[in-house]
């Protein structure tokens, strides 16, 4: 099990958002900071932090924080 704070920090660092963001409602293009360029930055950050390579279909499908948390399970990253 991984501490979810690691995932949140990756989002904060790559999207340049506040740590007290409403995580459950955070979605791609739902905020100005999470555009297509920031999305690729986010993917790179997640790959670095968790040392994985995310498949293209999952890059496209990862359209919210909640989905990201779930999709990472495919790569053996489960959150406490």
């Amino acid at each position: 099990m991984t501490d979810e704070s690691t995932l949140r920090k990756a989002f904060v660092d790559s999207l340049d958002i506040a740590p007290d963001t409403d995580w459950e409602s955070l979605s791609y293009r739902g905020i100005e900071e999470w555009d297509s360029v920031a999305h690729m930055r986010l993917i790179a950050e997640l790959e670095d932090v968790f040392d994985i390579m995310i498949e293209t279909e999952d890059v496209i499908d990862m359209n919210s924080y909640v989905v990201a948390r779930k999709l990472l399970g495919k790569y053996g990253i489960d959150f406490a």
């Binding site: 690729m40 790179a44 390579m53 293209t56």
Partner: protein
């Protein structure tokens, strides 16, 4: 003295590299210090044997993988392997290709789909995966797509091949613009008539006819193309992106 052709500490993935232009390229990159991932379309033992040849010849790490450009799952698996093994990728050479000439009216759906899968769709999928690994390292990278003079000038009997190679040129120019801010350079090479198994499969008369159209008076070699790849892979071309470099000996179509 700084060696601008020094590729030590760099990892290169050469598709279609168990023979022909790909193999010549893999050898030249290894000779200049690169760790090389050799890929064949079906025979893992052949790819691994080539990798061993590189390590034996130049002492560089090398890896053999099976990666059929028609199989997206194999392409994904190859990049996972590269990530697990080297944690980085600096050079991609999209070298795998097929040549299947047919006159208009005699182009089968299967031939059309196979040519585009290997020559155009596969390179896009490779480029997409490679660019992500290159961005991650923070050091940028170089992607070299092997196009063809036929993709620039066209030729009778080669509508499908020419269209697939023109697609590679369009891919190169668009990707160069998109990836330049990340320090990833994307260039294409447009070989003319090169002496490989692929061109030797042409009828003798057609081979001779094409050879006669070369102003420099000789058919090109796989090494001629590999040297152009080395230039584009190395720091010698550090400010070159979005270009299509002809390696054709002054060939006229």
């Amino acid at each position: 003295m700084r060696d601008l052709l020094d590729l030590r500490e760099r990892v290169a993935f050469v598709t279609g590299s168990t023979r022909g232009i790909g193999w010549a390229t893999a050898q030249l990159l290894a000779e200049h210090g690169a760790s090389v991932v050799v890929a064949g379309s079906s025979d893992l033992a052949a790819a691994e044997a080539r990798a061993k040849e590189l390590t034996a010849g130049w002492g560089t790490p090398a890896l053999g993988v099976v990666c059929d450009s028609r199989e997206p799952a194999q392409i994904k698996a190859a990049y996972r392997t590269i990530h697990q093994t080297f944690k980085r990728l600096d050079v991609l050479v999209n070298s795998a290709g097929v040549l299947d000439d047919a006159l208009i009216g005699m182009i089968s759906d299967d031939a059309l789909e196979n040519t585009f899968r290997v020559n155009a769709i596969g390179p896009i999928q490779h480029l997409q995966a490679a660019a992500r690994l290159m961005r991650r390292s923070g050091d940028g990278g170089s992607i070299i797509n092997i196009a063809s003079i036929i993709g620039v000038t066209g030729n009778e009997g080669q509508a499908v091949y020419g269209a697939s190679k023109a697609a590679v040129i369009g891919l190169t120019r668009s990707a160069a613009k998109e990836l330049a801010p990340m320090g990833v350079r994307v260039n294409a090479i447009a070989p003319g008539f090169i002496d490989t198994d692929m061109t030797r499969a042409l009828p003798e008369a057609k081979f001779a006819q094409r050879a006669a159209a070369i102003k420099m008076g000789r058919v090109g070699t796989a090494d001629d193309v590999a040297r152009a790849v080395l230039f584009l892979a190395s720091d010698l071309s550090g400010y070159v992106t979005g270009t299509v470099l002809g390696v054709d000996g002054g060939m006229l179509i």
